[in-house]
């Protein structure tokens, strides 16, 4: 019986998610960042190249197995494969894979990384600045507050609840309190490890208002799977309204006697 109940429950689960086709459910979650499409595009490009080369491998594998099976082709062709033409063909295959896909995607990926993902917003661009602290098993987020300085008493500190405006660059500096975590925004196609004693950072620019998941991607203990935070993206006006309200609340409620509250650090450009 133990074997059968899961089948039944799986079918009810399937009925619950019928709103989404199988093909839809195999795609990555909705992209809400300006540059997430670069990653999706490169993935797609690599996939097409891979399909092409894997089709060649399969053609050889299945084709030769069929055409040269012993019953049809009893006498094998005696060759060591060291004739000039053989060496040339093997070299061409090697180089076409290397130049055709590898160097191609390496160049594109590198351009994207240097030009976008590791091209950190400068002070002049006035990005939204967030400090994130991972701990077993929660994410803390810190906004600078009115004085635009971190680790002061007017900081807005959120637990598992990050709110960001759309249309502005967001820079998040990440640190961990205990073990290594990884701040993962599936909808922005981005993640960065949160490491004790070493500051890492990540930036993206949200484009869509809505509610999304933030996850921890690096194994961090038993309740790793529960280390889930919530991302709310607002329009700029809504964000400003929320931040003003949260700032007021923080000024009233922040207990400046509590050293635990001041886990932040000086912002490093």
């Amino acid at each position: 019986m133990g074997f059968i109940t899961p089948i039944l429950s799986a079918s009810t689960a399937r009925a619950a998610s019928t709103t989404m086709s199988l093909w839809e459910s195999m795609k990555p979650p909705e992209d809400i960042s300006v540059h997430g499409n670069l990653i999706d595009w490169l993935f797609g490009y690599t996939t097409y190249m891979n399909i092409f080369f894997f089709a060649l491998v399969c053609a050889g594998l299945f084709g030769f197995s069929w055409f040269y099976r012993a019953s049809k082709h009893p006498k094998a062709y005696y060759t060591y494969g060291n004739k000039k033409i053989h060496v040339i063909v093997a070299t061409i295959i090697g180089l076409s894979v290397f130049i055709g896909i590898d160097m191609n995607i390496t160049r594109m990926s590198n351009d994207d990384y240097v030009g976008v993902f590791a091209n950190w917003p400068t002070e002049k661009e006035n990005p939204v600045k967030i400090q994130a602290l991972g701990q077993q098993w929660a994410w803390h987020f810190r906004y600078a507050g009115k004085d635009n300085l971190f680790n002061t008493e007017d900081d807005v500190v959120q637990l598992n609840d990050l709110r960001l405006p759309i249309g502005r660059k967001v820079v998040i500096q990440v640190l961990s309190k205990d073990v290594i975590h990884s701040l993962y925004f599936p909808n922005a196609r981005r993640k960065v490890d949160a490491i004790p004693g070493r500051l890492t950072r990540l930036w993206f620019q949200p484009t869509k208002a809505g509610n999304w998941d933030i996850a921890c991607a690096e194994m961090c203990g038993t309740y790793h799977y529960r280390m889930k935070a919530h991302l709310t993206t607002y329009s700029q006006e809504d964000y400003a309204a929320w931040l003003a309200e949260a700032g007021e609340k923080a000024l009233q409620e922040n207990d400046i006697e509590n050293p635990e509250l001041f886990w932040g650090w000086k912002w490093q450009w």
């Binding site: 133990g2 074997f3 899961p6 689960a13 399937r14 998610s17 199988l22 459910s25 195999m26 795609k27 979650p29 670069l38 990653i39 490169l42 891979n50 894997f54 399969c58 594998l61 030769f64 197995s65 012993a70 009893p74 094998a76 062709y77 005696y78 060591y80 494969g81 060291n82 053989h86 060496v87 063909v89 093997a90 295959i93 090697g94 894979v97 390496t106 594109m108 990384y113 993902f117 961990s176 309190k177 205990d178 073990v179 290594i180 990884s182 909808n187 196609r189 993640k191 960065v192 490491i195 004790p196 004693g197 999304w212 690096e218 194994m219 203990g221 038993t222 790793h224 799977y225 889930k228």
Partner: protein, 575 residues
């Protein structure tokens, strides 16, 4: 290096000296084979428990669930889940695949295929097995202690693997077990390298060795160089856990001192990336040989294949950084590691071309070892190509630590090596045990395994691309992953199919070894390498007369051959 001839050992008389503390490389190989198959079973059951939890969260694991987890009514609890995937990874890599391919076939094949009477250091060889045995006992014992076994993933990154993240003794025992296993494998590696250098039969140049020996030799070189690196990292980890040092502790977590948890990742992956090739090189070598043996024509570009494997061995030592992109590397480093990683595809493409070249215009037969070898070509093709997404830094930012990675490395390390290992078992069974495995059961085993594993690992890559990250007890607490329940169920059913398929193998293997009466002939596959010139099963001394090698290992279909043989033994002059 001058060749020397080992004298003929006297046959061991007592049970202990014959089957337990044996110096004979063939017996040690068989010991490693049993050891590996046992752990393969344990690791496989763990994998099924992991899959069960992912597809049917909160439901009791069938049959043995109530026995193992009585306090939760048979449901895998979250802390046990973490132990399961940690132990699954550790066991499969270090206690199943390594013993089967390197321990069993390394030991069994190297002396037989190069025309030696035994390994050059038989005592070291025996010690290598018994250290591995002790290590396995320690690892299994760690499952039974309070707080349970290690639960930080097989990579065991600090600071999770230090006292901050895992207070129990399980993690210490895990570290100790791997350290001891590292010593065991290093002993084996030194032995293999020396044997290949000094004990090749007269007349046998390096390019006259079968490609299996090439693969095993290159693996041994990597093992000898990089296992000590892992050992160093593990030793420091033991210091951090037991003696209160802070090599890997930093920041808020450190009570004093300023270590760096990333240091461990560097040390681990300097070893960890070559480890992938340590596992796969023997399978490549065996596959290259078997394709030629059953296509009945010489291995296409055998020299190029050997050199390609060598260059991959060298390249594998300088690409480890691609495991650490998300720890925020400077673009200068990502560029270098990306380019170096991509370079590996040149030698890979060359030996893929050579494998297909071997099949081209052959006269192909399809006994079980051959279908498994063809399976290796298929799954390694998929595994290799999907590595490209993870080598490019931007796609890796999204895919890192998702099931895409899990699917990818299972294709390269698990699927290819498993199929390669099975090919080897089916092929050398007559020489090891003097009997042939059943062909029909073998083909059923292959097809079920092959369909099952593609379902599992392809499914994993799809859910990974859809965003599901690794090591989650219940992924469906995330809204964006709820849609993946049906796919996860599919993966689990595929895994069950794969599990069921292994019963065909176990039944076949046990029946053949213990109950089958029918003896195999000396050379059932009609192959010319040296191990097939001696009786089946191979006698204690292997070769009464040390053979003199006169031609290469893949002499098939020579048009000058007269008579009804289409192959030549390596001891015969090329016609």
């Amino acid at each position: 290096m001058a060749f020397f001839e080992q004298h003929i050992h006297s046959e061991p008389k007592t049970f202990l000296s014959k089957y337990v503390f044996s110096f004979d490389h063939k017996v040690i190989g068989k010991q490693f084979l049993w050891y590996g198959i046992l752990f393969l079973g344990i690791g496989g059951i763990m994998a099924l428990m992991i899959r069960w939890t992912l597809a049917f969260p909160g439901q009791a694991f069938p049959v043995i669930g109530n026995l193992l987890f009585p306090e939760t009514g048979g449901v895998v609890p979250p802390d046990t889940y973490a132990m399961l995937f940690t132990m699954h990874g550790t066991i499969m890599i270090f206690y199943a695949i390594t013993p089967i391919l390197i321990g069993a076939f390394g030991n069994f094949l190297i002396p037989l295929q190069i025309g030696a009477r035994d390994m050059v250091f038989p005592l070291l060889n025996m010690l290598s097995f018994w250290l591995a045995f002790i290590s396995g006992v320690i690892l299994m014992a760690s499952l039974c202690i309070p707080l349970g076994a290690a639960a930080g993933g097989w990579t065991s990154y600090p600071t999770l693997s230090t006292l901050i993240g895992s207070p129990g003794a399980g993690q210490t025992l895990w570290t100790l077990a791997l350290f001891i296993l590292g010593i065991s494998s290093t002993m084996g590696a030194v032995n293999y390298i020396t044997t290949i250098i000094v004990l090749r039969a007269p007349g046998m140049g390096y390019f006259d060795m079968p490609l299996a020996v090439w693969g095993l030799g290159l693996t041994a070189i990597l093992n000898a160089i990089f296992l000590p690196v892992l050992g160093a990292g593990l030793l420091l980890l033991i210091f951090d856990r037991v003696f209160g040092t802070t090599f890997f502790l930093a920041g808020a977590a450190a009570t004093s001192g300023t270590g760096d948890p990333i240091l461990f990742q560097h040390v681990f992956w300097i070893f960890g990336h070559p480890e992938v090739y340590i596992l796969i090189l023997p399978a490549w070598g065996i596959t290259s040989d078997l394709l030629s043996f059953f296509a009945r024509k010489p291995a296409f570009g055998a020299k190029a294949t050997a050199l390609a494997m060598t260059s991959i061995t060298i390249l594998s030592t300088v690409v480890y950084g691609h495991h650490m992109y998300t720890t925020q590397m400077s673009p200068l480093l990502t560029q270098s590691f990306m380019t170096l990683t991509m370079t590996i595809s040149i030698p890979s493409a060359i030996f893929f071309a050579n494998w297909l070249g071997t099949l081209w215009k052959g006269s192909i037969k399809f006994p079980t070892p051959m279908v498994f070898s063809l399976g290796v070509v298929f799954v390694f093709g998929l595994g290799g190509l999907t590595g490209l997404y993870l080598a490019t830094v931007t796609t890796d930012l999204y895919l890192h630590d998702t099931y895409f990675v899990v699917g990818h490395f299972h294709y390269t390390m698990a699927a290819s090596v498993l199929l390669g290992g099975y090919a080897a078992i089916y092929f050398w069974m007559p020489k090891m045990f003097g009997k042939m495995l059943n062909e029909t059961l073998g083909h059923i085993h292959f097809w079920l395994t092959f369909i099952g594993l593609n379902g599992v690992f392809m499914g994993m890559m799809i859910v990974g691309y859809a965003g599901m990250h690794r090591r989650l007890y219940n992924p469906f607490v995330y809204d964006f992953l709820e849609r993946l329940i049906p796919l996860n169920t599919f993966v689990t059913y595929s895994a069950l199919l794969m599990g069921v398929a292994q019963f065909f193998f176990v039944a076949n293997f046990i029946h053949t070894v213990f109950f089958k009466k029918e003896k195999a002939t000396d050379n059932p596959w009609e192959v010319g390498t040296l191990e097939w010139t001696v009786p089946s099963p191979a006698p204690v001394y292997n070769f009464k007369e040390i053979p003199v090698v006169k031609c290469g290992p893949h002499e098939f279909g020579n048009p000058n051959l007269t008579g009804d043989r289409d192959y030549q033994f390596q001891t015969e002059e090329l016609v």
